[in-house]
């Protein structure tokens, strides 16, 4: 490609610059250029949510975001989010509830659960189901994933979603 350009944004709290091209997906930039393979490709067309990241705090499917769109933005992946207190609480809930089987969808579900619980700290079961409806899991039938969110609900404070003091901001 002759149209390459330098793309600068904040990734998991740190300023980064990558050489990119107009046809590159954010998912590929994260996996191939930034080496964050925890962001998974399950379908490549926005149906499964395995590639979920936060873009300026909003949950998005990174397979559907052109990398060029994140110039100057704040992108948080599961890798950055895993430095927060909220991650610890949610991940323990997933483990305890038995919500993890093959694990391929799990980072995406963690991001979706975090997005839901940040907006709605004590969701009803219907709200949990709606909040996670953009993510697909073929192993669990979802019951234990919903149990996990129920377990985490009510344990999270707003400050749990920030990186700990001294760390870069997310």
């Amino acid at each position: 490609m002759n149209n390459n350009f330098t793309l600068s944004f904040t990734l998991d709290g740190r300023p980064v610059s990558f050489n990119s091209s107009p046809d590159k997906r954010l998912l590929d930039l994260l996996r191939e250029d930034a080496g964050i393979t925890a962001v998974r490709e399950g379908c490549g067309e926005g149906e499964c949510g395995a590639c979920s990241v936060f873009l300026d705090g909003m949950l998005v499917n990174s397979c559907c975001v052109p990398a060029v769109n994140v110039a100057g933005c704040n992108v948080t992946t599961i890798e950055g989010f895993s430095r927060t207190a909220a991650f610890k609480i949610i991940s323990e809930s997933y483990s305890e509830a038995g919500a993890v089987q093959c694990g391929f969808c799990t980072p995406g579900f963690i991001m979706a659960s975090a997005a839901l619980l940040q907006q709605n700290p004590e969701p009803t079961d219907d709200e949990i189901r709606t909040g996670l409806s953009g993510n697909l899991c073929r192993c669990t039938g979802y019951t234990m994933i919903i149990d996990a969110v129920r377990l985490a609900a009510g344990k999270l404070k707003p400050t749990d979603f920030s990186a700990p003091d001294g760390d870069d901001n997310l």
Binding site: G42, E45, G103, R138, G141, T143, M144
Partner: protein
């Protein structure tokens, strides 16, 4: 509850949650090549010419001539070519591949490759199929006599559709060929199946082929057969280029090119005598094999062996055929022929209940298998079958009979009222390989190794070829060894198998991992404990090991040539209830309740087991309702999650799961087959519920709103 059943958190959870777990798509090697496929643009025809543009330096064309052994994958039968030779038998069949350093460039080169064909007539669906690969017949009792003296004979036909496994991780392989050794890494269920297939394809001996499982993101049977094809294709490129070759399918390619559950068409004639008793069934079971036989014959075996479901019919005549059609070969999917047969068996009982003016449960109860009854293959059910207890439990949890009465007297379709219904189904699943397959074909061998450790007197390593693919084997197999040896769980090690290190304990299929391999490990662990007690200085550097090979219990008899005897060593059972509401205007079906009671012997881990049951139930309900895939104009009509919808959090309620205690004599701590059982029953319960709601029997799944609208109009 046995104390081993108490749940333990999975040790693989954290790496999977945080994303540190490494799947095949995450693995990078320097100087690696990628691979894309040029595929057939017609459904059936002779290849006259393939036009290949100039290929730049560093890129390679791989085709059927690159297999010094045979251009055929070994998937039971040896008929599926890695690349088409003189003809194509299905749309999208790989003609050749391009390997090179830039994946996008490989894709562009493939799209510039064209082929010229002489097109031939094609068959897309089972109804139009004439030719078949396998033709099996079984007779139990004297069906002809029963039909001759029948007071009434009823006939009906049942159909099931294609189902996609939809594992979340698409298929992928990495192959390298160095110093005469071919090494393949990837997402798989059966490392030794792949090794064997590669040995045949490349005329290599076992010492020169190594297969390593990478973290596997779901499989459900879909990574039993196709990985042998993909491994061969990647290996051919690695051998030709001398470089490491990585191939990861994108979702659309994966859905277009990998095997799915066989569609089925099952015709059942039933003889009833003048007292209203079912005396015989004559069953014609056709499953749609697709373009190549591969493992369809084995799927058909399971389908015909359980063709009456959980019901004892005295006289049976069954014919089964694997029909040839022109689409991607059908393959393994959790249940493996069972879900098709059980759907037909369940809905046939529903149909007969209507004909005989009985409630479905009343009729079904009269024929449920009991201990010492004879199976379709005249094998003997040697263990207790506790359906009475299971029915009591599901009546308590679901209130089935009261709801059935209530919905049965309610008025049917009206524009203002939701249509409501409730259905019950019974399911059987024979654990492990069919007949004497465990003894004659698999000959499972396991090994345990007590090894020095810096933190404990020794650790025990499990050496088996069975994989963790999400189902929890990395926890449950360790629990079996830990409990047997009275060691803490953290001292038992289970790694992903590498054929260089582990013995062949068989494939990760057929709900056999706990029942067969787990039992061998339990026995090996008991032996290892004794060996460690008596060893003078057990662990001064050299591991102490024990091996154990499978021996089929003598009481089971099987004649493969006539399909007579004990088709499976042990059976698992379930009762399923599904309740639905149907919108009278849009015909959307909403599942409002789902209950199940299972007999899987002893649970090795209650949470793992519940996870299997809930996940399998969702797959079965999806199969029955929303998962629709067709061959349209010769091509798969649905090849993405946009077109082919699998259940989301919003589709089905939680399944209320209960288990009865019925330890199995030959299983570890009494455990028997579990993983496939939840895919066997719910579809029939769902269809029964919809049948009651709409007042018309459902004989074909999936039951989409569009289909209901046509039926009910």
């Amino acid at each position: 509850m046995h104390k081993i059943s108490a749940s333990v958190n999975r040790s693989d959870a954290y790496d999977k949650i945080s994303g540190k777990a490494e799947y095949v798509s995450d693995i990078q090697y320097p100087d690696m090549l990628y691979m894309s496929f040029a595929t057939a643009s017609i459904q059936h025809g002779k290849i006259l010419k393939i036009n290949i543009p100039e290929i730049p330096d560093g890129f390679y064309i791989i085709d059927g001539k690159d297999f010094p052994g045979r251009n055929r994958a070994t998937i039971v039968a040896q008929d599926w070519p890695f690349f088409a030779e003189d003809e194509v038998l299905y749309y999208g069949q790989p003609l050749l591949a391009v390997a090179g350093p830039d994946p996008a460039e490989c894709g562009l080169l493939c799209s510039s490759i064209t082929a010229e064909y002489e097109e031939l007539p094609a068959v897309s669906v089972i109804e139009d199929a004439v030719d078949f690969f396998n033709d099996y017949s079984i007779v139990k009792g004297e069906p002809q006599k029963a039909f001759d003296s029948a007071a009434m004979i009823f006939e009906n036909s049942y159909r099931t559709g294609i189902q996609e496994q939809a594992y979340m991780e698409p298929q992928g392989m990495i192959a390298e060929y160095k110093n005469g050794v071919l090494t393949v890494r990837g997402s798989m269920q059966c490392p030794f199946y792949i090794r064997n297939s590669l040995m045949n394809a490349f005329a290599l001996d076992a010492e020169h082929v190594r297969v390593i499982q990478t973290e596997t993101g779901g499989a459900f049977g879909g990574k039993e057969d196709f990985p042998s094809v993909l491994a061969g294709q990647a290996a051919a490129a690695a051998i030709k280029s001398g470089k490491t070759v990585k191939v990861i399918l994108d979702r659309r390619f994966d859905m277009m090119h990998t095997p799915k559950r066989h569609p089925s068409l099952i015709d059942i004639r039933t003889a009833v005598d003048n007292s209203g008793k079912i005396t015989a069934m004559d069953i014609d079971c056709k499953i749609d094999a697709g373009a190549y036989q591969s493992l369809s014959g084995v799927v058909l075996e399971r389908a015909v062996f359980v063709c009456t479901g959980a019901y004892n019919i005295e006289n049976i005549s069954v014919r089964g055929r694997t029909m040839k059609t022109n689409h991607v070969p059908s393959g393994a999917f959790r249940g493996f022929g069972g879900p098709q047969s059980l759907f037909a068996a369940e809905m046939n009982m529903y149909f007969l209940a209507e004909q005989l003016e009985l409630s479905p449960l009343d009729l079904k109860k009269r024929y449920l298998f009991k201990k010492n009854d004879h199976s379709v293959t005249s094998g003997i059910f040697r263990d207790d079958i506790k359906f009475d207890e299971m029915i009591r439990m599901i009546e308590d949890s679901s209130d089935y009979s009261n709801k059935w009465e209530k919905y049965n007297t309610a008025s049917k379709k009206s524009k203002n009222n939701l249509m409501k219904g409730i259905g019950i189904s019974f399911a059987a699943h024979g654990g492990a390989f069919t007949g004497n397959g465990e003894q004659e074909l698999i000959k499972s061998l396991v090994k345990l190794s007590a090894e020095p450790s810096s933190t404990a007197p020794y650790n025990v390593r499990i050496l088996v070829s069975n994989v963790e693919m999400g189902q929890g084997a990395s926890l449950t197999l360790r629990k079996i060894v830990a409990e047997t040896m009275k060691l803490p769980l953290e001292r038992i090690i289970f790694n992903r198998p590498d054929t260089l290190e582990v013995p062949d304990s068989g494939p990760t299929v057929a709900s056999r991992t706990i029942m067969i391999v787990g039992k061998l490990l339990q026995d090996a662990a008991a032996d290892l404990s004794i060996k460690l007690q008596t060893a003078a200085a057990p662990l001064s550097g050299k591991p102490v090991t024990v091996e154990k090979r499978y021996v089929h219990p003598e009481e089971f008899k099987w004649d493969e040539s006539t399909f007579t005897g004990d088709a499976y060593p042990g059976y698992s059972w379930s009762v399923n209830v599904v309740e639905v509401e149907i919108d009278p205007v849009t015909y959307e079906t909403h599942v409002t309740g789902s209950w199940a009671v299972y007999d899987v012997g002893t649970a090795i881990d209650m949470k793992v087991l519940c996870g299997q049951m809930q996940g399998g139930t969702a797959q079965s309900l999806g199969y029955a309702s929303i998962e629709k895939m067709q061959i349209l104009n010769g091509k798969p009509g649905q090849a993405s999650f946009t077109d082919y919808t699998i259940p989301t959090t919003l589709d089905f309620p939680d399944t209320f799961c209960q288990f009865i205690d019925n330890p199995y004599r030959y299983g570890p701590f009494g455990a028997k087959a579990a993983g496939e059982l939840p895919n066997e029953g719910p579809a029939g319960a769902f269809a029964a519920a919809v049948s009651q709601a709409v007042g018309k029997i459902i004989t074909e799944i999936p039951v989409t709103p569009e289909k209901l609208e046509v039926e009910l109009g």
